[in-house]
């Protein structure tokens, strides 16, 4: 049988998403604005709703320098070290 080679990187480790919390109460939530126009409006409203419907320990607001690139490493590390839940906001 003819052998066909794999065009993908089959040894790449699939990325896992973080486990989802059962409740937001007592959690530190970061809202990450990706710097798209109107992103702040979306996240403002989300923050209002989160405060209305849950009792998070804190809600932190962060912003990427540009939507066109991944978040800088320093920002990622800062968020990972201080956050239980991250919401990344897209808008336009």
């Amino acid at each position: 049988m003819t052998e066909y080679l794999d065009p993908t990187d089959s040894v790449a480790v699939p990325r896992k998403t973080a486990s989802r919390p059962m409740s937001l109460d007592g959690k530190v939530i970061t809202l990450l604005d990706i710097s798209k126009a109107q992103g702040n409006h979306l996240l403002d409203r989300l923050e209002e709703l989160l405060r209305e419907r849950a009792t998070p320990k804190a809600i932190i607001r962060k912003k990427k320098p540009t939507f066109a690139r991944p978040a800088p490493d320093a920002l990622r590390k800062e968020i990972v070290g201080a956050t239980d839940v991250l919401v990344e906001g897209l808008a336009d």
Binding site: T2, E3, Y4, L5, D6, P7, T8, D9, V11, A12, A37, P65, T66, F67, A68, R69, P70
Partner: protein
């Protein structure tokens, strides 16, 4: 190796399509002998890592790139060009992460300079953006397959472009250096004329500019400028690397009149500037200067400060390409939001 079996090949084509590793067109089944022949032609080790391909950061080794190049239909001797193109587009300055994931439409455009154009019959003349040349078609296609198979840029999954454009099948041109009155794009950027290079631009589709009655720079330049003014939209400003593809006839008009590439760039940059008061969103169209820029001015409705279309003249990249008959040029807009994608060069090693 067993003799060719059309039924088996057809099954392989179906199977590869079903695995989601194609661009929708049938691919050449990547058998080990074909892949090994391509690797041998490159003179590189199969396991050598050329780049990690964003956004999934798959490992683009010489062998993995060769598999994709074979699937795209590349001849073995094209592999050095594909390797250089992959390395260039994975440079941080190119921002392939954004290019592959954005809702905008950019595709990596490969621009080839130097003697390798003649050696591999990479078209730089008539129909330069069109079909008919195996090298252009398959080198461009190989780059796309690498984006999908090693970068994870599957349309509708990670690659979220609203419209995309046909250049996402294959987008590769040569510069028609022999028909240019000027030094080539690569020489302008510090390479020798005897060196072969690729330059990668995250590019929208070409926008044709018909300027058939123009015989002087004074005729031609305003026509080119008016077409460049509407890149992205008519009030988009501070744009970055963008390609102006001059046909040989248009380039001759400018060259004969003593214009240099730098003169073309400076003229366009100066022409394409508007006062703040003409760039307000919500007046004759919803687009305009962003809020953080408008906030710098006390009364934007009266502000006369000029805002340029391009951040600097150097962001207007000029090449000569296409057939020697026809006064048609093209604008190829880059994808250049603040800190977005930039033109990236690599030497082709053989």
């Amino acid at each position: 190796m067993s003799p060719a079996d059309p039924e088996l090949d057809a099954d392989a084509i179906e199977s590869l399509f079903n695995r989601g590793v194609t661009d929708g067109l049938p691919v050449v089944p990547p058998t080990r002998p074909l892949v090994e022949r391509a690797i041998a032609a490159s003179g590189r080790d199969a396991g050598e890592l050329i780049a990690l391909v964003p956004p999934n950061y798959g490992r683009a080794t010489v062998e993995k790139i060769a598999v994709n190049a074979v699937m795209a239909g590349c001849r073995p001797e094209y592999l050095p060009v594909v390797l250089a193109a992959v390395e260039a587009m994975c440079d941080e300055a190119f921002d392939l992460h954004g290019v592959s994931a954005t809702t905008n439409a950019p595709a990596p455009l490969v621009i080839v300079n130097g003697p390798i154009r003649a050696e591999l019959e990479i078209n730089s003349g008539a129909g330069v953006f069109g079909p008919g040349w195996r090298a252009n078609a398959t080198i461009g296609r190989a780059v796309r397959l690498v984006c999908v198979n090693l970068g994870g840029a599957r349309p509708g999954d990670v690659s979220m472009s609203t419209l995309a454009h046909p250049g996402r099948y294959a987008y590769c041109i040569g510069e028609h250096e022999e028909a240019s009155p000027w030094e080539s794009l690569a020489v302008e950027h510090g390479f020798g004329p005897e060196q072969s290079t690729v330059a990668l631009l995250a590019a929208d589709a070409p926008l044709g500019v018909y300027a058939q009655r123009s015989r002087t720079p004074e005729d031609l330049m305003p026509t080119l400028a008016a077409s460049m003014a509407v890149i992205s939209h008519h009030r988009m400003t501070h744009w970055g690397d963008t390609l102006l593809v001059l046909s040989p006839e248009h380039a001759k008009i400018l060259g004969d009149a003593g214009w240099k590439k730098g003169d073309v760039r400076r003229w366009l940059h100066e022409r394409l500037q508007w006062p703040v008061r003409e760039l307000l969103p919500g007046r004759d169209g919803g687009e305009g200067l962003p809020e953080h820029v408008l906030a710098k001015y006390r009364d934007p409705g009266r502000e006369t400060t000029l805002i340029p279309k391009f951040r600097s003249p150097e962001h207007i990249k000029v090449v000569v390409a296409g057939g020697t008959a026809g006064r048609f040029s093209a604008i190829v807009p880059g994808w250049t939001f603040s800190k977005g994608s930039n033109l990236v060069f690599r030497r082709i090693h053989r």
